[in-house]
Symmetry: C2
Amino acid sequence: MSLLVVGSVAIDSVEAPGGRADDVVGGAALYFSLAASFFTPVRMVGVVGADFPRPVLDDLRRRGVDLTGLEEQSGRTFRWSGRYHEDVNVRDTLHLDLGVFADFRPTLPESYRDSRYVFLANIDPLLQASVLEQLRAPEVVGCDTMNHWIAESRPALERLLERVHLLVINDEEARLLSRERNIVRSAARILEMGPRAVLIKRGEYGIIQFAGQSVFAVPAFPLEEVTDPTGAGDCFAGGFMGELARSGDASPAGLRRAIVYGSVMGSFVVEDFGPRRLLQLTREDIDRRYRQFVALTQIG
Amino acid sequence: MSLLVVGSVAIDSVEAPGGRADDVVGGAALYFSLAASFFTPVRMVGVVGADFPRPVLDDLRRRGVDLTGLEEQSGRTFRWSGRYHEDVNVRDTLHLDLGVFADFRPTLPESYRDSRYVFLANIDPLLQASVLEQLRAPEVVGCDTMNHWIAESRPALERLLERVHLLVINDEEARLLSRERNIVRSAARILEMGPRAVLIKRGEYGIIQFAGQSVFAVPAFPLEEVTDPTGAGDCFAGGFMGELARSGDASPAGLRRAIVYGSVMGSFVVEDFGPRRLLQLTREDIDRRYRQFVALTQIG
């Protein structure tokens, strides 16, 4: 089943515990698409400038990512540069240039409008809502957001959440959105806003999902070294939504398996700068690490 | 199988998110013993002053805790008062009075010297070693420590760790002990020091165990409210060692089950001030929450 993603495509420069890398491709939609492409065909909506390396787009197409919805404009691609602390859960933005992303208004090609699995990566909630309005019959809608929109666009975000099934956010965002510090109460409050499940990303501690009365927690994969944390959350979302779209199984067990596949993808991407590790990955690598996740968490 | 524990017995006053409580009994050996007593007979070594409430000791005896090794002295019991932050992983010590604990030199009654399961709660590593020297044939030795001993008594602690099988510490202590920030490298370094397994407590994120090449992670139980975090780590250790001593099964699977029982006990004690919740607990409550842990972590 095709999976639609809408979000940023970027060129990043990062200083991270593993060193530094300049001008690597990134952005939520790119990381998401690469991760999801191991599971299902992907349709991407985003915008790049004239400086974006075209071979990367060719590679995405070879991987089954439909780029009909990717606008190519004459300006500069969204650029971000940042520095991670030794504690990789903390990062500083050194420089930000929205470029052509500043005026991004997602427009879905006709061929995308039948998409039933959808992921709205972190952009203005009004734009996220506009994507839903262009879809004929979205069935499973996942969504990310960030502190900025929670603080500055709460009414629009709350309206959007009524139409979202799966919210994927980090713990700080969950607290801000729910105005509750305790994670259980925070999740309960968020579920009242609309989503059927909320997946809370806890960095090196993994993911905890609240869905109705069911709670599922999976640790992050213990790695000897995190080279570059950029994209971990987006690859989680890509693996998670990709596996859901592939299996069509949104039962509690299906959601749990998808969460583990998401965790697998998030654990790989941080092993090298930018999306490099994903580009070398095989399906066999993914399934081996899935089994390692089972071994990591299996009681008795 | 009887389980020996050596450590502090205290009278605590705490300010916590759930309110405040003055003069509640506590201390690592007391929390450990209460938790472990649901699984196996316990032998306690410690010291209390004339101010320690005797009915608490009578209750411990009724629960199968042998207090032959508990010295009752004429001075004041070890007293601690502290304040937890809204983030309950952070606490300030407001007042500390070692009382009779200042000169504590653990002396094992003859009837304790055949103990095969032993837990050395957080005290001076020289005293922890002196306990091992008084035992005829300890088989499974667990140990806790704290920042102070790692910083101030490293040589004694490193000698002790050569004789310890299971080290139970928190993540900050693991980093300090190993001089490694990354948890995987930190655990590898600690295993080189002697223990067969290191169990790292991560507060609200649960426990991660490294044993040889095997890694096992279990989340903390998601609670709507943490009333008083005091004793969570000691109750974890009590449930863990108690179940190990009961089952006699230190296989990888046996260790994992014991870790979950430890997590169960840690999750209960924080639901009320001091050890109150443990005093109301039934074996049925414990087994119900064990099953909830399985449901919380089971993939697919």
